[in-house]
Each structure stands twice: as C-alpha cells, then as structure tokens.
C-alpha cells in the first residue's frame, strides 16, 4: 500500500510527531497507514537472548515492562523522557527514530545499546544498526515501501549498565538541547566495553568512539572522566538555534557524557 501510493504516504504509529506536522500544515498526507493493530508490531518479547520491541509499542507500555527496564534502564528512561504522560501513552521508539530529529531522546540510548532495527518491505526483511537509519534531520535511509517493524536489543551480559541524560531548560515538556547515552560492561571493576552517543549536537545522533576509548580500561576515575568529556565536546558539530548555542551544546555535551557514564558505571555495579 505504502509502496503504491503516488502521493505523500506516512506510517502512523503514535502520531505524536506526525499529527503535529499535519496540524502545522507542514505535511498533507495522501495516505496514512495505522500500524497499531498489527500484532507483530504491538508486542515486546524479552528473553536471555535479547529483546524485541514492536514498532507500535508505546513509551508507557515499554516503561511498564519491568524486565526490559531492568536490563536496559537507559533505553527505557530515554524513551520515557519523550513528552508528557499524554505523549507517552502514544509515542513509540520507532516513531522517534523515523521522525529523524537530531534531538530524539530514545535514539542515542538505542545506539549506545547497540540496538538494531528490523526493516521490512513487500520483498523481504533486513536488520540494520540503528545508527544507520537516520541520515540527516528528517531524513532516513529507508527506501520507499520499507517500514521498521521492531527494534532489537542484544542480550545483556552481566555487569552491564546503560544511562541516558538530556539537558532541557524546564523539567519536562522540552526537546533536548544536548543529550548523551552511555552503555558499558565491566570486567573486574574496569570498563571492558563502552559506547558513548551524543544527541542534538550534530545533524544525527553521533557515536563517539574516542569517548568510549577514554574510559575503556578505567575505573571511571577523574582523569578518565575528564578525557571522556573532552572527547564528547570535540565530537560536537552543533548549530546555534532557538534551543541552544554552539558554545553551550559543546560544553554541556561533555558534562552530560560524564554524568551518564557515572550512572551507567554504577548500574553495572562499578564502584
């Protein structure tokens, strides 16, 4: 259906972005496909081998899944930061991803977690790392007729933790000015693997390997944190806009990277 529509065609999951764009007159869809009643897109499956979250699962539903929240607190918290309780009842991770805003809350956390998107079309199914989906503000790598069916999170090794933090001027209802997601695993008290991702500091969320390198092998001491912050700030290519300045975003990216790493470290059982 999506493939054959000649006009502007959109997938409707929670609608919390799509309906706003329709209201403001930015888009006039010729076709809307509501996916909320498709069973495969509507469920969460969680096992020792990994977690699969359907594209139509709302933020609130994800937040209520205790096992997922225990395994991936950062991912769940990030998703639960999208909008108000009203928006949580409707919004989805996949919608957040496909809306392709550089400031999307769930995306840095998903990338840090090594999440993959299950992309389906009439002709088949492929699995793509989340960081390959968004190519720029409002732009994705999805081809016409392709939709994301689910997000898959890998199995969680022991002594792992993740965290997501964003800076907003108010306490709620804002879009992230800067954000940071960190996921890491410990071995004998030291960080063995880590992924550090920043949001709202570039056209897409950015994975910062240098920031991960800064803390791998460490016990997240002052020196490692300092280097992590510096690497985060160095990875920023932000813009000046109504939500923040280049200077501000660059500085605070380091601060949030540091703080998110500390939380993730603690969650992994680090001391």
């Amino acid at each position: 259906m999506l493939e054959s529509e000649a006009g502007a065609a959109f997938v409707l999951a929670g609608g919390t972005d799509l309906l706003v764009r329709m209201k403001l007159g930015h888009i006039e869809p010729a076709l809307l496909v509501d996916i909320k009643r498709i069973p495969a897109m509507n469920s969460i499956t969680h096992s020792a081998r990994g977690t699969r979250i359907g594209a139509a699962v709302s933020g609130a539903e994800l937040g209520e899944h205790k096992a997922v929240a225990r395994a991936w607190p950062g991912v769940v918290e990030a998703t639960n930061l999208i909008g108000s309780d009203q928006v949580q009842s409707r919004c989805t991770m996949v919608g957040n991803l496909c809306n392709a805003s550089p400031a999307a809350d769930s995306v840095p956390a998903m990338i840090a977690a090594g999440a993959k998107a299950v992309v389906v079309s009439r002709t088949g199914r492929r699995t793509v790392p989340v960081e390959k989906i968004v190519t720029g503000p409002g732009q994705t790598s999805l081809a016409r007729g392709e939709v994301i069916e689910a997000i898959v999170l890998p199995a969680r090794p022991a002594r792992s933790g993740d965290a997501y933090l964003r800076f907003i001027p108010r306490t709620e209802m804002d879009i992230a000015v800067v954000s940071a997601g960190v996921s890491l695993t410990l071995e004998r008290g030291r960080i063995k693997t880590a992924r550090v991702v920043l949001g709202a500091v570039a056209p897409t969320a950015v994975l910062v390997p240098a920031a991960a390198r800064a803390i791998i092998g460490s016990k997240l001491d002052e020196d490692a944190l300092h280097k992590l912050a510096a690497a985060c700030s160095a990875a920023c290519k932000p813009i000046d806009d109504k939500r923040g300045t280049i200077e501000y975003r660059t500085k605070v990216a380091g601060v949030l990277g540091k703080r998110a790493a500390q939380i993730a470290f603690q969650r992994a059982g680090g001391a």
């Binding site: 409707l12 929670g14 609608g15 919390t16 309906l19 706003v20 329709m22 209201k23 403001l24 869809p29 010729a30 809307l32 509501d34 909320k36 709302s58 609130a60 909008g83 108000s84 309780d85 009203q86 928006v87 009842s89 409707r90 306490t171 709620e172 209802m173």
Partner: protein, 171 residues
C-alpha cells in the same frame, strides 16, 4: 479522502460518527459530538487542555485521529461526575481554588484522575511530574497540587472505611 465511519464508546455510551480521516479526535469531540469540555489550547500536544483517556490511558485528543478510535473506549471530563455526584477531584478543585480561569481544568482533572487511579499515594514530586503535560497559566500550580493531595488522602480514607466495612461484614 472520503469520511470514515467510526463506532466507539464515549463516557460509557455507544457513539457513532463519520469524520474525514485526517480529523483529530479533539475536533470530533468538540465539533461533531458537542463535547466542548475538551479544550483546545495548542493543537500540538504541548498544553494538555484536550486530555481524555483512550482505553484508560491519558492522551492529548489533538494527537489522536478520530478514525483511530473505532472499537475503543474514550472518557472525557463530561463523564467524570457520576450519578449526579461530582468526583472528589472535582469537589477538591473547587474547594481548594485549584482553578482560576478554568480553561485548563478539564485536562488537569483527567490527568489527575489517571494518576490517582494508578498511584493512590503519590508524592508531591510524582504529582508534579504526572501533571507536567498540562499547562496552567493562572495558579502557579500550587493549589492544583494541594487539591490532588487532598483528594488522594480522602480517597485512601474512603478505601479504608470500605475495607473495614467489608471485614466487619465478614466477621
């Protein structure tokens, strides 16, 4: 696009309506069904004045399409008072002066009701975050939070009384 025929339940009553597929639930409720207690403050999900519940979950009706609610259950402010009796939240909003101009009040009441249904003993912080999706420009939220706290206390006492009565009946 042709109009969509929708059968749904609103405040316990079966309702049918037809609307263009791109029309919001908010517009349906207000303009087609006369439920103008549901208010529009922004149309973009930022103010919460249009809050209703959809299958028990709190939503901004401006961010839901009318066409999506077929077979669902909707509750609006018009259904909050039951059997001619105001809900304790409604009573306390009046008593504690939790409203000034009143335009945001229906949305706050819906949000507060969902909160108390799920969490009968919320902390002040929990109340404040649960209501953060509802903007009020008159009150500074002080008396709204107090009205919700007072209602929570009242409802808990009511529950205690009920369970005591049940116990005494059993024994």
């Amino acid at each position: 696009m042709a109009a969509v025929l929708v059968s749904t339940t609103i405040n316990g009553d079966a309702v049918e309506f037809a609307c263009p597929p791109q029309e919001s639930l908010l517009a349906v409720l207000r303009d087609r069904l006369g439920l103008t207690g549901v208010k529009e403050g922004c149309g973009t999900g930022d103010c919460g004045a249009c809050s209703v519940t959809l299958d028990g979950r709190l939503v901004c009706s401006c961010l839901v399409l009318g066409a999506e609610v077929d077979g669902r259950e909707i509750a609006t402010i018009e259904g909050m008072a039951e059997n001619g009796k105001l809900h304790p939240l409604q009573e306390n909003f009046i008593e504690h002066a939790a409203l000034q101009c009143g335009i945001c009040t229906p949305g706050f009441l819906m949000a507060a009701k969902v909160l108390l249904d799920r969490n009968p003993q919320p902390t002040e912080t929990e109340i404040r975050y649960a209501l953060a999706g509802n903007l009020c420009r008159c009150t500074g939220y002080d008396k709204i939070v107090r009205a919700v706290q007072a209602t929570a206390t009242e409802l808990r006492q009511l529950e205690k009384k009920k369970s005591r009565r049940k116990k005494s009946k059993k024994s």
